[in-house]
């Protein structure tokens, strides 16, 4: 039986993946920094670093998957993995919280102050920018980036909300199928989830193209453009990561991995997917709608 496991906690011996990851990160980020400062050699280092990181990811996850499939991990190791994933997701939530905090601070406090509201506004706004009237969206008193239009919530964003919510349902249906032992349903629902994820990303790309091409809404569009693209951009990156995770899970399901009792990797990817889903709801409400 594939569920038979070790009686003692599995402690691996020696690993070359972390040092590889560190070297890859160093090359990639060092190269990126060099490139940002205008030296083209940075691009080469970035590319090499990215390749090293990708190799490391395949090697590291590959080894863990092999160990998992050969039953090296007992139930206690499984719990460690679960807790680890949960706290990783919590740290990601806090990363987004920084940008949501920025958005709220700008909308509730700093933009009205800039427009002269309240004790603090009286002291700064009229002195620095006497003609600025606070409003949201805004690109500030200097109209940084030029006039722009925003994307209405009930167009592509609402459609994307429906897509992501549906994908949350399909991934749950996949989980139920896995727990029933119905592998073909598992693969079908997983495929649907991954497909919805990539459709979401496609629409997001269309929306960004529209913003840049037709609405003049860009990263340069003052505080509105900054918060808009920072939040939606990082969310899109996380959707990409989540979709790739689910894609790996789909390929593993097709190969016959996972049992109705033991499928930590599936659940980890599903939790991550729900996390990007919830972040999107926050985005839809506070960035697009209100």
């Amino acid at each position: 039986m594939a569920t038979a496991t070790h009686d003692s906690y599995y402690v691996p011996h020696g690993t070359k993946w972390p040092i590889m990851g560190s070297i890859g990160l160093f090359l990639m980020l060092g190269g990126f920094a060099t490139m940002l400062n205008g030296a083209n050699a940075g691009k080469t280092f970035m590319a090499i670093g990215a390749l090293v990181i990708i190799t490391m990811l395949f090697g590291w996850f590959g080894q863990v998957i092999r160990e998992s499939e050969t039953g090296a991990y007992n139930a206690q190791v499984d719990v460690s993995f679960r807790m680890g994933m949960i706290w990783f997701i919590v740290s990601e939530v806090l990363f987004f919280a920084a940008f949501f905090g920025t958005l709220f601070y700008a909308r509730i406090y700093s933009v009205p102050w800039l427009g002269g509201e309240g004790m603090k506004g009286v002291a700064t706004g009229p002195v620095l920018w006497p003609n600025f009237e606070a409003a949201w969206p805004t690109n500030g008193p200097a109209s940084v980036g030029g006039a722009f239009e925003t994307i209405p919530a009930f167009g592509i964003p609402a459609l994307n909300t429906a897509i992501l919510l549906t994908s949350g349902v399909t991934v749950t249906l996949a989980h139920w199928a896995l727990k029933r032992g119905d592998r073909s349903a598992l693969c079908r629902w997983l495929f649907a989830t991954v497909a919805l994820g990539f459709i979401f990303l496609y629409f997001q790309g269309v929306e960004f193209g529209h913003a840049y091409g037709d609405l003049n809404l860009t990263l340069h569009s003052g505080i509105y453009g900054s918060t808009f693209f920072m939040l939606t951009g990082f969310h899109g990156l996380h959707v990409t990561i989540g979709a790739l995770m689910l894609l790996v899970i789909l390929l593993r399901s097709l190969k016959g991995h996972f049992t109705p009792e033991r499928h930590f990797a599936f659940e980890a990817a599903a939790w991550y997917w729900h996390f990007v889903d919830v972040v999107w709801l926050g985005l839809f409400i506070f960035v697009y709608w209100l």
Partner: protein, 536 residues
């Protein structure tokens, strides 16, 4: 069925590895919590001396008025890098090293819960600090806007911004992975009978520290990312012309920054709570109140951040809110100090080096706490803000606070780690020289600050000359005294009197039931924990 053979294979595999791998690559590939703990601590010690060398440069420049050896631009680079290196390179990694060594052997686990990730969280650090350190050699030099990285100043430097931002990202990754490992190990790897309220205080404080890390580090990552995009990608987060606000950076930064100071000090509380009962030969007074006080401090640390910003122009309600929440922290901290003193009350005390450092911690950290209380009073802070009074305050909580607790813990557990007793006489010399010099170094800075000497400026008015000279002399003496510590550690690693398992006659806890040094795999079979051996 196939797994049965796999099962046997793994057993066979295990049999080949009862000890460390041979050769230098052991340290690069290791997944062993003790190896990784040692790496962390040695790295932290190295960074302590790099950051210390920068501090010596700063004190040499401030030895007398006028510009002597450091041009203002370089002086600013020194203060910025000194802080970044000491905070992220010395104190934090040192505590993670303690966590690695101690958590498994104090809760009865074979190793940390996620050993490969453990390796990565260490091995990111040398690369992060290479990236940070090499900014000294790039166009524009090292970051010079202070470790707090306030825009717009920080955006006006040379090449260093991007390197600093990515170095901070790497340090954040390392800290978050380390914190996840600590939480999972403590929650999932405890020996049977080691209930939560039987855990040693060091374990409790580190568990709470790990939660702080997970909540605070991602926010710092977000803050520096916005600096990067403001500089290179045209965003206007901190640019009022585009509707942003430079003060917003300070809010995001200090939402990380204040919990960060507790990340550096809570493990110190834990270590001191281990040491005082051992050398007072009495159980810790008010164990449960210590746990709740630590948790309260951690909670409060997230709602006090703007006490660093009283002078930037906040609405009055903000000033009041952050003033009162900050002063509230004195309550749980007072509980702790009271409990340490009550533990010693009528104890059969002896004064070996760990106890001396722990006692100095209690007294000198409390001085730093009181000056913090003064700074918490918003109207008074308008006078103190950005003066040497602030420098004196946070150096009191960080040097005779966090660093002394690190020394206390190092002397306390060095016999366990190396298997040899350290040189007690040299330890005492290290203690007395450090304690005297650290006060000569930092106490006069209170006077300088109250008299109005601004921080982060290489020159000063002549009326500040005397106290600055005394402070610098204390600084040089403190720096030199630390060489004794290196020699003591070296000597204990090399040999000396064999340490017994229990090492200290009054010590309680699982780590003292293991041999000194402990076997490569700490607890292969989990011990059964009873109330008596639970916590001291």
């Amino acid at each position: 069925m196939s797994s049965h053979t796999a099962h046997d294979e793994h057993h066979a595999h295990d049999d080949h590895h009862h000890g460390p791998e041979p050769g230098l690559m052991r340290w690069v590939y290791t997944t062993n919590h003790k190896d990784i703990g040692t790496l962390y601590m040695l790295f932290a010690l190295l960074m302590f001396f790099v950051g210390g060398a920068l501090a010596m440069g700063i004190r040499a420049e401030l030895f007398q008025p006028g510009i002597q050896i450091l041009e203002p631009e370089l002086f600013n680079q020194f203060t910025t890098m000194h802080a970044l290196i000491m905070v992220f390179g010395a104190v934090m990694p040192a505590w993670v090293g303690f966590a690695n060594w101690q958590i498994p052997i104090m809760i009865g686990a074979p190793d940390m819960a996620l050993p490969r990730m453990n390796n990565w969280s260490f091995w990111i650090l040398p690369f992060a600090f290479t990236m940070l350190g090499m900014t000294f050699f790039i166009p524009g030099g090292a970051p010079a806007a202070g470790w707090t990285m306030y825009p717009p100043l920080v955006l006006q430097g040379g090449w260093n911004l991007a390197f600093m931002v990515f170095a901070v990202h790497l340090m954040g990754m390392s800290s978050i992975m380390g914190a996840i490992n600590v939480i999972v190990t403590i929650l999932n790897m405890r020996a049977p009978g080691m209930t939560l309220l039987r855990m040693p205080l060091f374990i409790w404080t580190w568990l709470i520290t790990a939660f702080l890390l997970i909540a605070a580090m991602p926010v710092l990552a977000g803050a520096v990312t916005m600096l990067l995009t403001d500089r290179f990608f045209g965003t206007s987060f901190f640019n009022a012309a585009g509707g942003g606000d430079p003060v917003m950076f300070q809010h995001v930064f200090w939402f990380f920054g204040h919990p960060e100071v507790y990340i550096m000090i809570l493990p110190a509380f834990g270590v001191v709570s281990q040491i005082i009962p051992t050398f007072a030969r009495k159980p810790l007074f008010g164990y449960e109140s210590m746990v709740y006080a630590t948790a309260s401090i951690a909670f409060l640390s997230f709602i006090v951040w703007a006490h660093h910003m009283f002078t930037v122009g906040m609405p009055l309600t903000g000033e009041l809110f952050f003033m009162f929440t900050t002063m509230l922290i004195a309550v749980p901290t007072g509980v702790k100090v009271f409990n340490w003193v009550a533990t010693m009350w009528r104890g059969a005390m002896t004064f070996e080096t760990p106890m001396l450092f722990a006692l100095a911690f209690v007294i000198l950290f409390t001085i730093g706490g009181f000056s913090g209380l003064m700074l918490a009073i918003a109207p008074v802070d308008f006078q103190y803000h950005d003066t040497y009074f602030v420098v004196a305050h946070f150096h009191y909580v960080l040097v005779p606070g966090a660093v002394f607790a690190l020394f206390a813990g190092a002397y306390y557990w060095l016999p366990k780690w190396t298997g040899h007793m350290y040189d007690e006489k040299l330890g005492q010399w290290h203690f007395w020289l450090s304690t005297i010099s650290v006060n000569v170094l930092f106490f006069p800075q209170h006077f300088l600050g109250l008299a109005g000497m601004p921080r982060r400026i290489p020159d000063y008015a002549v009326q500040f000359a005397d106290w600055n000279r005394i402070s610098s002399l204390g600084g040089f003496a403190f720096g030199l005294s630390q060489l004794i510590f290196v020699y003591v550690v070296y000597k204990a690693i090399k040999g000396g009197e064999k340490a017994t398992d229990r090492v200290w006659e009054g010590a309680h806890g699982l780590e003292w039931t293991l041999s000194s040094p402990p076997p490569y795999h700490s607890f292969n079979t989990p011990p059964k924990v009873t109330e008596a051996e639970a916590h001291s």
